[in-house]
């Protein structure tokens, strides 16, 4: 393995440990990786709650556990709007969907994302192509 390939593997191993629940790279302090991983999850959750305050309000104190259940081991795919949509879809399939307000807000977020994808004329420059939407039954 070349030095560059070795570096790439080490970097990939750290990222996998931080966002996908993989073991830490050899020789790297496992406790620090755990702390960093938890901090990243909180940061991602804060960012989502900031972008979707209505959803954060609907979940209230359940937000943290619901978001952790969704995000732990699941790296963010795409931008924060995409993360919010994925989280909304996760909630609609979870026990939280029994809460009418959570259900209403989550559906709204998912619908808005579908509309955004269907109506925009050109991709926003600088973003990676997004995965095709798989609509959930909204009835």
């Amino acid at each position: 393995m070349s030095a560059r390939e070795d570096l790439a593997a080490r970097q990939a191993s750290l990222v996998a440990a931080l966002v996908a629940g993989a073991p830490p790279p050899s020789g790297v302090d496992a406790e620090r990786v755990r702390i960093q991983s938890a901090a990243l999850l909180r940061k991602r959750g804060r960012s989502l709650a900031h972008a979707e305050p209505e959803l954060a309000a609907a979940l209230g104190p359940r937000f943290g556990t619901a978001f952790t259940a969704y995000a732990a081991g699941r790296p963010q795919d795409g931008c924060s709007a995409n993360d919010a949509d994925e989280f909304a879809r996760f909630l609609l399939k979870s026990e939280h969907a029994r809460d009418a307000e959570v259900r209403r807000v989550a559906r709204h977020i998912h619908l808005r994302r579908l509309l955004h994808r269907a109506t925009r004329a050109a991709p926003f420059r600088g973003h990676a192509p997004e995965p095709a939407a798989r609509p959930l039954p909204l009835g």
């Binding site: 030095a3 560059r4 070795d6 570096l7 790439a8 080490r10 970097q11 990939a12 750290l14 990222v15 996998a16 931080l18 966002v19 996908a20 790279p25 050899s26 020789g27 790297v28 302090d29 620090r32 990786v33 702390i35 960093q36 901090a39 990243l40 940061k43 991602r44 804060r46 790296p75 963010q76 926003f124 420059r125 600088g126 973003h127």
Partner: protein, 317 residues
């Protein structure tokens, strides 16, 4: 002359856009001499009105990238590079800044700036990426030392030596984050003063300062807490050294979350301005005005505007 910024700046964020304008205009306030914008959050062709107004009022705007992944082995994203270039053109920026870090690997986003192992192989990757970025940008590039909780067992050199070699090989400028020197002190027991003494401080384009918090026994550079005294002390140590090199570059406060009142931000900027002007670090936050009332000689002096001697000594090829 070294491209950069002078005076005191603040990270422009949509959430505090009116605050920034008020701080800048207030006759009794600390003033805002320049701002920085997170490149990923501002589209060059759809600049928020409040930011466009700052630019039109002559306030320098520095695009600051957070996801280029200069230390990564994946190829640089041309869309991210062209966005940085377009923002620099839009604002006629004096420079653009990014980080000595990687933030994705193997196609997975970390959502964070991660440290590269300080090895020869990683330095070669950084050098190649920095050169590529430099050739794509219309203005000079500055790279920042990051805050981290994690270090690699394969590290072969100190951060100062690593950054120094990167700077020497590429001509890139340094964006010195003094809060991140504090992070390294708490998290790894590294001496920030030794780092300051080893870094090429004459090549600092501007400096960052921010608050953080101790959690789980480690320092988190949150940008969501007030700047603590120990970090202002590091700014003072940097300022003392920069003065002997011909001038203190601009110092920018980063605040990204849990925004305090306008008055609290004004107090932080005033304290930073005082320290950048050579005043003693206030004993506690909020005492900078008292220090000024005491007639402290250091506080009355403006921040030396860079140029002149320093510029003449450090013309770059």
């Amino acid at each position: 002359m070294i491209p950069g910024a002078a005076g005191v700046g603040i990270g422009w964020r949509q959430e505090i856009d009116l605050t920034v304008e008020r701080l800048r205009r207030s006759a009794r306030g600390p003033g805002v001499d320049f701002v920085e914008v997170v490149a990923e959050n501002v589209h060059p062709e759809d600049v928020p009105g409040t930011l466009a107004a700052l630019h039109e009022a002559g306030v320098p705007v520095i695009p600051h990238g957070v996801s280029l992944s200069l230390g990564g082995t994946d190829p640089l994203d041309p869309a991210k590079l062209s966005r940085l270039a377009a923002l620099a053109a839009r604002f006629a920026s004096p420079l653009v800044s990014e980080h000595v870090a990687f933030c994705r690997a193997g196609g997975v986003e970390a959502g964070h700036l991660l440290p590269v192992p300080r090895t020869r192989a990683a330095l070669d990757v950084l050098v190649a990426n920095v050169r590529e970025a430099q050739s794509a940008l219309p203005v000079p590039l500055a790279v920042e030392n990051i805050a981290t909780l994690i270090q690699w067992p394969e590290d072969e050199m100190t951060e100062a030596r690593f950054l120094g070699e990167l700077i020497e090989r590429t001509g890139v400028l340094l964006l010195l984050d003094v809060a991140n020197l504090h992070t390294a002190r708490v998290n790894f027991g590294l001496d920030p003063i030794a780092a300051l003494d080893a870094l090429p401080l004459e090549l600092v384009g501007y400096a960052h300062i921010a608050g953080g918090m101790l959690r789980d026994g480690v320092w988190h550079d949150t940008h969501a807490h007030p700047v603590s005294r120990e970090i202002l002390d590091l700014l003072a140590a940097f300022v003392e050294r920069a003065r002997t090199l011909g001038g203190v570059p601009g110092v920018l406060l980063e605040r990204d979350d849990a925004y305090p009142s306008d008055a609290a931000l004004a107090g932080e900027l005033a304290a930073i301005r005082d320290v950048a002007a050579g005043a003693p670090v206030p004993a506690a936050r909020g005492t900078s005005r008292a220090a000024r009332a005491d007639g402290n000689p250091g506080t009355a002096a403006g921040i030396p505007v860079r140029g002149g001697i320093r510029g003449a000594n450090h013309v770059r090829a």
